[in-house]
């Protein structure tokens, strides 16, 4: 029988285009110290560190956990570095959860970061010296296929762009702040990769996120409410072969089915109070709503259009502003997991959903082929 795991500390940095006020070490330490403070713990309480970040070339440091070990107080402790493309922030939290559930450790610090201003993200997305099209260029045809298949009106993607940017105004850590954003403004912004308008795309950000995870005894001692982990799952599939559906990938469906089974979720729309979903381009909200079972295939856009995913809807998605508002890539998945945890802890601040009891954290990466998810809840499993 696996040990229970709970989140008792969350820390985030202010995210922005360029955090030139801190080094990489300073950035991860800022998030880690806030998580420890939230958990009412000190560095000495941490038994192991699990760190995640996306390709090393983003910052130009190979295996940066070696250099960051000192800043993360890891001396004499185990430190691991996870990398599963864009899903890495989520996968990193899953590895940290496993360290608690397996009873290998009782208190684990997990951190994810990206400091994109240190390097050239588009060079890196183009596979370094091999050449390529970048992330948006890869996903744009999938989005176009979704729009054609579902018959979704062109304004649904821009609706998501507006919703998430408005939500971001309630999140003090969010990068983009566009208070006067409208659907018209989004649709009039230039195409970056047709059909993705500039304002439908995520930014490139510097930022970090950290969480302190502990076991049942540790969570019971916490003075602030814990977020109990009710399930974790990861799935990976090949990115390119005839017959694969990259618009509604099987890996995402399988991952959701696995984590729902663990958490006893049978009707996601009814069973979750709030969702933090990895939406780097606006159309991915309706696409993932279908993939994750919140709407029937072809109906995800109707869910979005109805307003159900807004903060006053019945299934709010990305109250934090999501990846569309802040995108330190390696941390973006962990931010989803951490925001889900903050919601069920009741500590999400101005973007809190009242009485959120159960939340889904979701991340994806690669060619929409890496998935990581967790279900967190206010109640002990």
């Amino acid at each position: 029988m696996a040990e229970r795991c709970a989140v008792v500390g969350v820390g985030m940095t202010k995210m922005s285009k360029c955090r030139d006020d801190v080094s990489m070490a300073g950035l991860v330490r800022e998030a880690a110290m806030r998580a420890l403070e939230d958990a009412e713990m000190t560095w000495a309480d941490v038994q192991a560190v699990v760190i995640g970040t996306a390709p090393d070339i983003f910052e130009g440091v190979m295996m940066p956990e070696l250099y960051l070990a000192d800043a993360l107080g890891a001396t004499g402790k185990p430190i691991m570095r996870v990398h599963t493309a864009g899903s890495v922030g989520g996968s990193t939290a899953v590895v940290a959860t496993h360290l608690i559930e397996s009873q290998v450790h009782e208190r684990v610090l997990t951190v994810a970061f990206e400091k994109q201003s240190e390097g050239d993200t588009n060079f890196a997305f183009s596979s370094g010296r091999s050449g390529g099209v970048g992330a948006g260029g890869y996903f744009a045809p999938h989005i176009r296929a979704y729009i054609e298949r579902s018959g979704a009106p062109a304004y649904v993607g821009p609706m998501v762009a507006v919703k998430d940017r408005k939500n971001a105004l309630k999140n003090p850590y969010a990068h983009l702040r566009i208070p006067d954003i409208t659907i018209e403004m989004v649709m009039e912004s230039p195409f970056v990769w047709d059909p993705i308008h500039r304002l439908e795309s995520c930014p490139t950000s510097d930022g970090a996120c950290a969480m302190v995870l502990t076991n049942e005894a540790g969570a019971s001692r916490a003075t602030k409410p814990p977020a109990w982990v009710h399930g974790t799952a990861v799935r990976t599939e090949l990115g390119w072969f005839p017959g694969r559906d990259p618009v509604n990938p099987k890996g995402g469906q399988d991952c959701a089915a696995d984590v729902y089974r663990q958490a006893g979720v049978t009707d996601p729309r009814a069973d979750f109070d709030v969702v933090e979903c990895y939406v780097p381009f606006s159309w991915y909200e309706p696409m993932w709503m279908e993939n994750l079972g919140f709407a029937d295939v072809g109906d995800g856009w109707k869910l979005t259009e109805s307003g159900a995913t807004s903060m006053d809807g019945d299934i709010p998605v990305n109250c934090s502003g999501g990846v569309l508002s802040s995108n330190p890539i390696g941390a973006s998945g962990m931010l989803r997991f951490a925001e889900a945890a903050q919601q069920v802890r009741g500590l999400a601040g101005d973007h809190q959903i009242a009485d959120a009891r159960r939340a889904l954290g979701h991340a994806y990466g690669g060619a929409a082929q890496y998935f990581s998810m967790w279900v967190v809840a206010a109640e002990k499993p």
Binding site: D56, H83, S102, R235
Partner: protein, 353 residues
Amino acid sequence: MTRDVAIVAFAQAPLDQAPGQTETLMLLPTITDALNTVGLTRRDVDFTCSGSADYLTGGTFTFVQMLEAAGAWPPISESHVEMDGAWALYEAWVRLQHGDVDVALVFSSGRASASASLRETLTFQLDPYYLAPIGADYVSLAALQGQAVLERTGRTDKDLAQIVVQRRHDAIANPHAAVSGDVSVDELLRNDYVVEPLRTHDVGPAVDGAAAVVLVAGERARQICDRPAWIAGLDHRVDPHYPGVRDLAQSKSAALAAARAGVGNGGVEVAELCAVCTPEELVLTEALGLGDAVTINPSGGALVANPVMVTGLVRIGEAFRQVHDHGRQRVLGHASSGPCLQQNLVCVLEARD
């Protein structure tokens, strides 16, 4: 407390590969070999974990291509560490502790030959603000460590050469060795210094490589393997990054990992150490508490072949062979990463009747 997990199979890609061979094509037959030896297929694997590093080939997301070798369709439960494969083994071992799944596949790969200069490439592992700009490459840092350990122990470059003589002799029986054969101390001492006190023979030749390990939990390990190597202890620790704040002649993190892995509880007969430069063996032998009776690196160790990102996993694989093929009872596999042995992993394997 921990669930019994054993290594039941290990396979390593041949040293002789076509020029420019991809990691995927090195891994494909290697993974198949490892699974085949215990009658498993990719469909039997419950959890997959791999280790590799983008920087060796100068790419991004290079591990994604390796999914073809893992066989990631239908979708699999999978993870990846940007670390030596030994840490992928650690993650897989943790996953198997949950009790809901029994079979894990671990693999790693690296193409040192894709780097114009491995010394230059690995320099990017260092603190980018203070260490990388001065070009403190891994061989120069290992030389500093070598100087420190020679001064502390009163040994000389003759003692280092004596170690290399033994490793190269043992490597004659290892088809994965890049250098092997009988040489004398006097011959070796005529070699040039790379960085004093390290001569050319004191730096393990970097090679391309790939390896796969199969982990199985519980009774099933006994059913499919005639002599599994049970993981009796597994731990890893890190030291501070800055060489200046450490006593380079000693390794606190290796000693701590060894204590946590229970090396002292019954000792070990054999130790496979991830010592890429000769003086590292001296540091590790002391830190891990290995007495004179312990056979060190019967494969020749990392001094005869250093498949970067795979070297640590190969040490654990060689330790498995000592139990499975050579009848040993209790052995140690060690992995290391970072400048001057910054990070160390210790895996104690044992036979159980």
